[in-house]
C-alpha cells in the first residue's frame, strides 16, 4: 500500500498551481490545482478522475515538470523535485517518469518515422548503448506493447490511432521508467480499440513492474485498470481510496453524482439528478468554502465558510466533505 514509505514512489504535498489570466493589467488568478496531496506506490495504477477543468491534466503536467508548482512540493523517491538542478538529474527524472499523451494524431512528429521518438529517448537516457543496441531495444519495446518490430520503419500517418498510442507507450517504456503519466490515453480512440490499450496498461503493471497514473474522465475505464481512485473537482481532491471501495460506497456527494451519471447499458441510468444542471465552477480567486456546495443537496452552514480538508474516514479511503466527516451517511445522488 502506498502509505508505506518503503514502497512509495512519488508523493505530492500541498501541490498548488495558479495561472494568471486576463490581460496584462488584470490581477485575476485561476486556481487550477489547489492544495493537492496524494502518493503513488510501486506496481500500482492510480486513476485520477474528474471532468475537464478539474485540474487533473494540470496535476499531471506538474508531475512531468512541464509546469512549476506555485506552492507545495513533489517528492520522488523521497527527494524533492526542486532539488533537481543539474541537467543529468532532470534527465534522469524525465526518464523515470515519462508521459504518454492524449491525442494520437499529434503526439508524433509527422515528418519522421515512428522510430524517431523511441530512438531519441534511448539516445538521451541510455547513452551507453550503441546504435545497434538502440535498434534492438526499440524492437523489443515494440513487441512488449504489441506492435510488429517492422513498424519502426513506418510513418505516423500509416498507423491507426490505437497503434499510435501503443507507440506512445513504447516511447515511455524505453527509458525503463518507474512511473508512467498517462494523460487520457484512450479518450480519443474508438471504443473497440480502448480495451486493447487498457489491457496493455495492466500488463505493464503486472509484467514490467511499472506504476501508472491514469488520467481520465471515464470512471468505467478507471475501474477496469486501476487499483486506486482519486476524484478531483474544481482543482481539489474530493475523494480517494481503493477503487472498488470508492465505487461501492462513495463518501463525497460529487463522487456519487459522477457515478450516477455514468451510462452503463447493463443498468438503468439514474434520473434522480435530472435537476442538476450545474457545471464545475471556474475557480478564479475563490473564497474559502467547499467548491461543490452550489450543486450539493446536503450542503450545511460550514460548507459555505470552511474549505473541507481531505481526511481519512476509513483506513485508506479519504474524502473532503464536512458532512461525511461528521460521520453522517452521505446519500446525495442515487
Amino acid at each position: 500500500m502506498p502509505d508505506d514509505p518503503g514502497t512509495e514512489l512519488l508523493r505530492a504535498e500541498h501541490l498548488t498551481r495558479h495561472f494568471k489570466i486576463g490581460g496584462m493589467t488584470s490581477r485575476q488568478t485561476l486556481h487550477a490545482v489547489d492544495d493537492v496531496n496524494f502518493s503513488i506506490g510501486q506496481r500500482e495504477i492510480v486513476a485520477l478522475a474528474g471532468e475537464s477543468g478539474s485540474g487533473k491534466s494540470t496535476t499531471a503536467r506538474l508531475l512531468a515538470r512541464i509546469y512549476k508548482p506555485t506552492a507545495g512540493e513533489i517528492f520522488y523517491e523521497g527527494k524533492p523535485l526542486t532539488r533537481l538542478r543539474s541537467r543529468r538529474d532532470r534527465l534522469r527524472y524525465s526518464g523515470q517518469v515519462p508521459m504518454v499523451f492524449q491525442d494520437p494524431f499529434s503526439s508524433m512528429n509527422p515528418v519522421f518515422k515512428v522510430s524517431h521518438g523511441v530512438l531519441r529517448s534511448l539516445k538521451l537516457h541510455r547513452p551507453e548503448l550503441s546504435a545497434r543496441q538502440r535498434l534492438d531495444e526499440a524492437a523489443r519495446v515494440f513487441e512488449v506493447v504489441g506492435l510488429d518490430a517492422e513498424m519502426l520503419q513506418r510513418f505516423p500517418y500509416e498507423l491507426s490511432g490505437g497503434q499510435r498510442q501503443r507507440v506512445g507507450f513504447a516511447q515511455a517504456l524505453v527509458t525503463r521508467p518507474k512511473l508512467i503519466l498517462a494523460d487520457e490515453p484512450v479518450s480519443m480512440l474508438d471504443v473497440s480499440i480502448r480495451i486493447g490499450l487498457l489491457n496493455l496498461m495492466s500488463k505493464l503493471r503486472d509484467e514490467e513492474g511499472v506504476s501508472i497514473l491514469y488520467i481520465t474522465h471515464d470512471i468505467a475505464s478507471a475501474r477496469y485498470v486501476a487499483d486506486r481512485l482519486i476524484v478531483m473537482y474544481a482543482g481539489q481532491i474530493a475523494e480517494s481510496g481503493p477503487i472498488e471501495e470508492v465505487l461501492a460506497s462513495p463518501k463525497h456527494p460529487y463522487t456519487q453524482l459522477l457515478l450516477s451519471a455514468v451510462p452503463d447499458p447493463r443498468a438503468p441510468l439514474g434520473v434522480a439528478a435530472e435537476a442538476d444542471q450545474g457545471e464545475p465552477p471556474k475557480v478564479i480567486d475563490p473564497a474559502p468554502g467547499c467548491r461543490f456546495r452550489w450543486r450539493c443537496p446536503l450542503a450545511i452552514d460550514t460548507c459555505e465558510r470552511v474549505t473541507p480538508v481531505l481526511t481519512e474516514l476509513v483506513p485508506g479511503h479519504a474524502a473532503a466533505c464536512h458532512v461525511a466527516q461528521t460521520g453522517a451517511e452521505v446519500k446525495a445522488f442515487s
Binding site: N109, P110, F155
Partner: protein
Amino acid sequence: MATTTVTVQAGHSTAGQAGRRVWRAVRRNRKAATGGVLLLLFCLIALFPGVIAKDSPTAEIYPKNLGPSAAHLFGTTGLGQDMFAQAVWGTRQVLIIAIGAGLLATAIAAVVGVTAAYLGGTWDGVLNLLTDVLLVIPLFPLLIVISAYVQNSGTGVLIAVLAFTGWSYTARQLRSQALSLRNRDFLEAARVRGERPLYIIAVEILPTMISLLLAAFLTNALYAILFASSLQFVGLGDPNATSWGTMLYWAENNEALQAGYYLQAIIPGACIALLGTAFALLNYAFDEVGNPALRPVRKIRSKRVQSASS
C-alpha cells in the same frame, strides 16, 4: 478526430513526401505551373546566356537608340549596347540576388519567428518588437539610406542589406505557424523527454514547416528582385554591372523616355515584372499545400436521382 477515414494520408509528411506533394500541387495548379515554367526559363537563360545572346552586353559598338530589328531583337541603348544581350546576361545577376537574398532573409525570418514562438514570454515580446519596428519603417527609404551609407555596391553587400531589412514580413508568418504548432503534443513530448530547446526548434519544428518556408522564400525572393532593381535604378548599385536595374538607370540617365525610346525602359521593366510574376505564381501552389481547403475541387455533375428509384 476525423469522422471520415476516406483519405489515407494525414496533413504532413516527410521532406521527400512534402517535395512530392509540392511538385504535384505545382503541376496541378495552372497558375503555379505557369510560374514554374517561367522560372525554369529564366534559370536556363541565366545558366547559358552565351548560347542565347551572341553579342556582348557591355560593348558600346553599335549605333545608338535603334529600334528592334533582326540584328538587335530589342534594339540598342543610348550608349550603343545591344539590349537583348543585356537583358539575357543581366538575368544572372538578378537571379543571384533574388535567390541569395531570398534564402538569407528566409533564414533570418525562420530563426527569429520560430524562436519567438517557441520561447514565448519576454523573448517573444522582444523579438516581436524588433520585427514590428522593421515592419513599420518604410523599407525603400531605409534601403536607400543604408545603401548610400555603405557605399560598397557589390552584389554580396546588396544581398546582405536586402536580407537584413526584409525579413520581418515573413518572420510574422513563420511565427504564427510555429505558434499553432507549439502546443502539438509531439513538441511537448520532445520537451518532456529532455530535448534541448535548440534541438527542438531545428529538428522538430522546422521540418514540419517546409511548405511555409518555401513559400516564405518565394515571397522574399520577389521582394529582393523588386527592391534590388529599384536601388540600381536610383543609382545605388554598380552602374557598370549588367543587370536589369542598371538598364533602367542608364535609360533614365539618357533620358530615353523623353526622347521617345520607350523600349529602353519597357524591356528591363518587363523582365523584372515577368520574373516577379513567376515567383508570385509559384506561391499559389503553397497556399494549397498549406491549406487543403483551397484545393480546386472538380465540379461533379450531380446525378439526377429519380424519385421513383427506391
